[in-house]
């Protein structure tokens, strides 16, 4: 859990394009972008179609995860490198997901698709073929996943970090501004949550800020890193980004991603809600 073990640069990826032990995966909510062009050798996972159960709201089962990775040609000893659009939101979600199922060596491409494109590095359109494997996942590690009851219990006691934009936190917007503003949830945030938008941890090109800047971001906003921390957003992908910053880059072990996030919390009957900045 450090920048050295969890993050790779675009140069590193460029140098490892033909490394057979490295599996590049583009993860997004819009895999049409993958079809238009992706990093050579990368396969693609769709955030919803591949990684959501579909019937119930949950991660796919251990057996389905094993089947997905086996069919994708990923071995237990593969170095999995994730990247995507949306400033790596869904790639960090997949990173968290690979950690949930105990994959040993998973890393994130700093800056994702955006930095790669802004650097005018090449994309290809052909999808690779990889020989199938027999992947064996571990039982879910729930030490990095928060559920609604512990979130409610954490109000006023533990660190709750709302990583959405200020306009969503205050209740002005119901969703990120690239989405239609229609939602079944009420607007607002979990009481006692601190609004530390995910975007404050990233540079404009999508790469992460320095460890010193990142630590100051959370500590300066009043987060006591000695206490347990729960991060949430709307559907759990932006909070996976902030979870990655805290858990992987800053090596803070007691951090959980609440992937139920506002779509769950904002639908619960009778729980406390706050509005305003």
């Amino acid at each position: 859990m450090s920048r050295e073990t969890s993050l790779v640069s675009a140069d590193w990826v460029a140098q490892n394009l033909n490394n057979p032990s490295v599996v590049l995966i583009e993860v997004d909510e819009d895999t049409a972008l993958y079809e238009q062009g992706h990093i050579e050798g990368a396969i693609t996972f769709h955030w919803r179609d591949d990684l959501q159960d579909g019937l119930i709201r949950d991660l796919i089962s251990k057996e389905k995860f094993e089947a997905l990775l086996s069919k994708s040609g990923i071995s237990n000893d593969s170095t999995v490198v994730l990247y995507g659009g949306n400033n790596n939101w869904f790639a960090t979600y997949a990173f968290w997901y690979f950690k949930i199922y105990g994959h040993a060596d998973v890393r994130l491409l700093d800056g994702g698709r955006k930095r790669w494109e802004l650097d005018a590095r090449p994309f290809v359109t052909n999808a690779p073929t990889r020989a199938t494997t027999s992947y064996v996942a571990k039982e879910r590690d729930n030490s990095i996943r928060a559920y609604r009851d512990e979130v409610i219990s954490a109000i006023g006691k533990l660190n709750i970090v709302d990583v959405r934009s200020p306009a969503e936190f205050s209740g002005e917007l119901a969703a990120p501004a690239h989405l239609l503003q229609e939602s079944g949830q009420i607007k607002g945030h979990i009481p006692s949550a601190k609004n530390i938008p995910w975007s404050k941890a990233a540079n404009e090109d999508g790469t992460f800020k320095s460890d010193t800047e990142l630590k100051e971001l959370y500590v300066g906003a009043g987060v006591d890193l000695a206490k347990d921390t729960i991060a949430y957003c709307r559907i759990g992908e932006r909070s996976a980004f902030s979870w990655f910053v805290l858990h992987e880059l800053l090596n803070v072990s007691n951090v959980k991603n609440y992937d139920g996030s506002w779509t769950e919390y904002g639908s619960l009957v009778g729980v406390p809600v706050a509005i305003g900045a």
């Binding site: 494109e117 650097d119 934009s165 200020p166 690239h178 938008p197 975007s199 404050k200 404009e204």
Partner: protein
């Protein structure tokens, strides 16, 4: 879809309920003839960031193959930051419900 001779701008607005949505959209074009007129080809690999009135990041979208982008914001003052390889531009806009902000941005 944009057709030949159509007014350049963001994606087709039909089907969007403008009584409830505050739309900021547009198209990114290259300055084709270096005459200051945005008549060049669409930039389909740009990123558009939406910042709120305090300069805080609110959302980001990549442009589509036609160079277009769209945000659903709230009424008020916003700043767009356009990023492409070697390019960074800002545009300030005022958004309101009912009347979409539709921009043609040349880079």
């Amino acid at each position: 879809m944009k057709t030949c001779g159509a007014t350049p701008g963001g994606p087709d607005i039909s089907g969007i309920d403008l009584t409830t949505q505050t739309v900021i959209q547009g198209v990114i074009l290259k300055d084709g003839q270096e005459d200051g007129v945005p008549n060049g080809s669409p930039v389909g690999n740009a990123y558009v960031r939406l910042l709120d009135s305090t300069g805080e990041f609110t959302a980001e979208v990549p442009t589509n193959l036609d160079g277009q982008f769209r945000f659903f914001a709230a009424p008020g003052a916003w700043t767009l930051v356009i990023l492409a390889s070697g390019v960074r531009e800002e545009r300030k806009v005022i958004a309101a419900k009912g009347i979409p902000v539709d921009l043609v941005i040349e880079i």
